[in-house]
């Protein structure tokens, strides 16, 4: 239980926010943040070195979030909510570049978006992402490349950067 407390204190905020980025839903992110650590605790007695714990916990979190995403089919609703609530109808109205980039990321396909979140928010290595998403490292590399290409070509982002 001591190790679980330490893990929760250290990693749960990041796990919660990553789950929020993936699910775009704070309540669902809470569930994921809890489930992640409960699942980790069940195997806690077999982990005696903290070296790989971070990647391990993030892997559980991402997979749990992806399961939620598929299971509850929230993607359409979440996208529409973003589109109506904070979507950049007119990029020139956006004063904050970060918001524009975030909105552009939201428009990426899930497979690219989750890869981007793993790489640039959770700071997982390409090998760790490959293991987490159960794809080959080359696939991770190509997904990241494609995501960057799409973001770089996003008109709203270009306009925001010019502004």
């Amino acid at each position: 239980m001591a190790s679980l407390e330490r893990w929760v204190a250290t990693y749960q905020p990041v796990v919660f926010r990553a789950a929020y980025l993936i699910l775009r839903d704070a309540d669902a992110a809470e569930d994921v943040a809890q489930d992640t650590f409960l699942r980790a605790w069940r195997a806690a007695d077999r982990v005696y070195d903290e070296t790989g714990v971070r990647a391990w916990l993030y892997r559980i979190a991402v997979n749990t979030a992806l399961n939620q995403l598929r299971k509850r089919k929230r993607e359409v609703a979440a996208l529409s909510r973003i589109g109506t609530a904070g979507g950049p109808a007119d990029p020139m109205d956006e004063r904050d570049t970060a918001s524009v980039v975030a909105a552009a990321i939201e428009r990426l396909p899930d497979r690219l978006r989750v890869t981007v979140i793993c790489r640039y928010f959770l700071d997982l290595s390409e090998r760790e992402i490959a293991s987490t998403l159960r794809v080959r490292p080359g696939t991770v590399k190509s997904r990241l490349h494609e995501a960057r290409r799409l973001l770089a070509g996003d008109e709203s982002l270009a306009l925001a950067q010019q502004g």
Binding site: M1, A2, A33, Y48
Partner: protein, 385 residues
């Protein structure tokens, strides 16, 4: 450009993530849920372990139940393998175990003979008591072994190592063979004559006809041990040797033991005779005589056992089966190789199942012990945490 884009992406994601606040009680709720969670199911445990391994987290090894399962499987496998291996056909067992069992029975009965028989006489109790004590003293000396039986009995020395000639081994030899013959009647007559030609004798014979024409017969003959090989050679020449096995049982130790016991009892007999001469009173005389009778019976029994052993050693036993082609023994019509193989496989399967049951039964106490230890460790861990 890429670096700048990556920085923008990171900043954007952080900003987006910070849109929501982490609920203050999330950690507390998570820990509470963890405390209340039941013991995880095996599947979940395995998944958690697999997750840890896949991202390179160093774990203590495989789940413990995998170790236990593997150990149990290995034990069952080894037992099954051993059972199958030991089922391989070996030499035909010695045909004379009945004789040895009989010997054992005789010896056991002799040992159980009543020690005293003076209960019927109630008078002259003092004298009887004295006699009983004297008999007990005599018996104590004799039962302690030949070496302690008294000055009249020479100690039996064990054969000195490296001097095999000092005690020639006493071997009971037995041979079994099956011979396929062309003409059964002629071969049978030759076999019967063969026993007397080698100074032996036939103890048992049995013939039968298969399908009304084919002959088959078994006979048991005893021949002097020195002529066993010659007799076997002659039997083999009667036809085509199909199967043969021979075995030998070393009974040297039994004979030495019988000798020692006999001499000890003979010494006791002498002492009882002396006691009988000095006995005064009816009860004392009767008691000594009862014991004397018992000792003499025991001596006779031991001598009979020794004679039987010596006879077995002096004369070897041959169990011979002669048959014409088509009248093979132990093969019923239609009992082909497939059926035999099936029976063997069925037997092997039963042995394996039986062996597995034995192993599982043996593991039950260990499992109980392990479960107890694990529970204690778990309780201690929980209290600590």
């Amino acid at each position: 450009m890429t670096d700048e884009l990556e920085r923008e992406i990171r900043r954007a994601l952080e900003a987006k993530a910070l849109e929501v606040d982490v609920p203050d009680d999330l950690a507390a709720r998570t820990l509470a849920a963890a405390r209340e969670a039941n013991a995880p199911r095996l599947r979940e445990r395995l998944r958690g372990w697999r997750d840890a391994r896949s991202v390179g987290a160093r774990v203590t090894g495989y789940p413990r139940w995998l170790y236990a399962g593997a150990a149990a499987a290995a034990a069952v496998g080894l037992y099954a393998l051993g059972s199958v291996v030991t089922m391989q056909p070996g030499p035909t067992p010695m045909p004379g175990p009945a004789a040895f069992e009989q010997l054992q029975r005789v010896g056991g009965e002799a040992a159980e003979l009543p020690a005293t028989g003076g209960g019927a006489v109630t008078s002259a109790e003092t004298a009887a008591t004295t006699a009983t004590e004297d008999i007990a003293a005599v018996r104590g000396r004799s039962s302690a072994g030949a070496a302690q039986a008294g000055p009249d009995i020479a100690p039996i020395e064990p054969p000195a190592p490296g001097r095999p000639g000092s005690f020639p081994p006493k071997i009971v030899r037995t041979a079994d063979l099956e011979v396929e013959v062309r003409n059964f009647d002629r071969a049978w007559d030759a076999a019967m004559n063969l026993a007397s030609r080698h100074d032996g004798f036939v103890t048992n014979s049995n013939t039968e006809q298969i399908n009304g024409k084919l002959g088959r017969g078994t006979l048991t003959m005893r021949v002097p041990a020195t002529k066993l090989d010659a007799a076997l050679r002659d039997l083999r020449r009667l036809g085509k040797l199909v199967r043969m096995s021979s075995s030998g049982a070393d009974v040297s130790a039994q004979l030495v033991d019988l000798d020692a016991r006999t001499r000890a009892l003979e010494a006791e007999e002498l002492q009882l005779l002396e006691l009988l001469k000095r006995a005064s009173g009816v009860s004392q005389v009767l008691e000594v005589r009862d014991r004397l009778n018992a000792v003499r019976q025991e001596i006779e029994s031991l001598k009979a056992q020794k004679e039987l052993y010596e006879d077995q050693v002096a004369y070897s036993t041959i169990n011979a089966t002669l048959f014409e082609s088509g009248a093979e023994p132990d093969e019923e019509p239609g009992d082909g190789i497939i059926i035999q193989s099936w029976r063997t496989a069925l037997h092997a399967g039963l042995v394996i199942v039986g062996g597995a049951l034995v192993v599982l039964g043996g593991l039950v106490p260990l499992a109980a012990l392990g479960l107890g230890t694990w529970s204690v460790v778990r309780v201690i861990r929980r209290r600590r945490s």
